[in-house]
């Protein structure tokens, strides 16, 4: 279970540029779906990766299902050498995505995002349309479980739909 307040506050305190893209974004759009992690798309510049490492290091990130006893260093080099990561941390599961299927990189994610106010902070999250596109592209069984409600919300919120 992720402690959302700690995660989001630390990301804001360290000026990380990111867009919330997964289950938390789905919740912001009024779905009843319950996620267990925080997924976000991050800007892959050296500066932002430095901010990201500073923000998450206090929570001891380790790759999910990492073998016991095998050393791991969470630093700028690690993040520069990959794109998408799934981490377990002391405050819960956090997935870092440099690319989101169906949408693209951080610039594309930002262009497909809206701002919400949570914990007194401005947080960017995928639009409903972007969530539908990314979940359709991801095409996993868990995505097919949330898509009907997202499509229903889109129809309900569309002023042109009767």
């Amino acid at each position: 279970m992720i402690d959302l307040e700690k995660a989001i506050t630390s990301l804001a305190d360290n000026n990380v540029e990111y867009v919330v893209v997964g289950g938390v974004a789905i919740t912001l759009h009024a779905s009843g779906y319950i996620t267990q992690d925080l997924d976000f798309c991050y800007l892959r510049t050296r500066e932002n990766i430095h901010h990201l490492v500073t923000a998450l290091n206090p929570f001891d990130p380790m790759p999910r299902n990492w073998p016991d006893g095998l050393p791991f260093i969470f630093d700028e080099s690690t993040l520069m050498n990959g794109t998408n990561f799934t981490f377990d941390t002391s405050i819960g599961a956090i997935d870092l995505l440099g690319e989101v299927k169906g949408i693209g990189n951080y610039t594309d994610a930002l262009a497909n995002s809206v701002t919400y106010q949570i914990y007194g902070l401005e947080v960017r999250a995928f639009t409903l349309e972007a969530l539908i596109i990314s979940k359709t592209a991801a095409d996993r069984p868990k995505d097919h479980l949330v898509l009907p409600e997202l499509l229903a919300l889109k129809e309900a919120l569309d002023p042109n739909e009767e």
């Binding site: 992720i2 919300l153 009767e162």
Partner: protein
């Protein structure tokens, strides 16, 4: 007159995406409840739901307890 999102969710038009979600098994009354909340309240509910699921997972690991006779 245009219907509100709540009205559309609670009384979907046949053949639409809302009707498809209802037929899929989505409880749209819960979706309506979520729509009435602020984004912060939705996140607070999510965090509570996560805690509850974590407790359920703990209980599942422990297994059933003996009934007191």
């Amino acid at each position: 007159m245009k219907r509100t999102p709540e009205e559309k969710l609670l009384n979907p038009k046949p053949g639409g995406k809302i009707a498809a979600a209802r037929d899929f098994g989505i409880d749209l009354t819960l979706t309506v409840s979520q729509l009435r909340l602020s984004p912060q309240q939705r996140i607070d509910n999510l965090q509570s739901g996560m805690k509850f699921l974590a407790e359920l997972a703990k209980a599942r690991k422990l297994g059933p307890v003996e009934k007191v006779k």
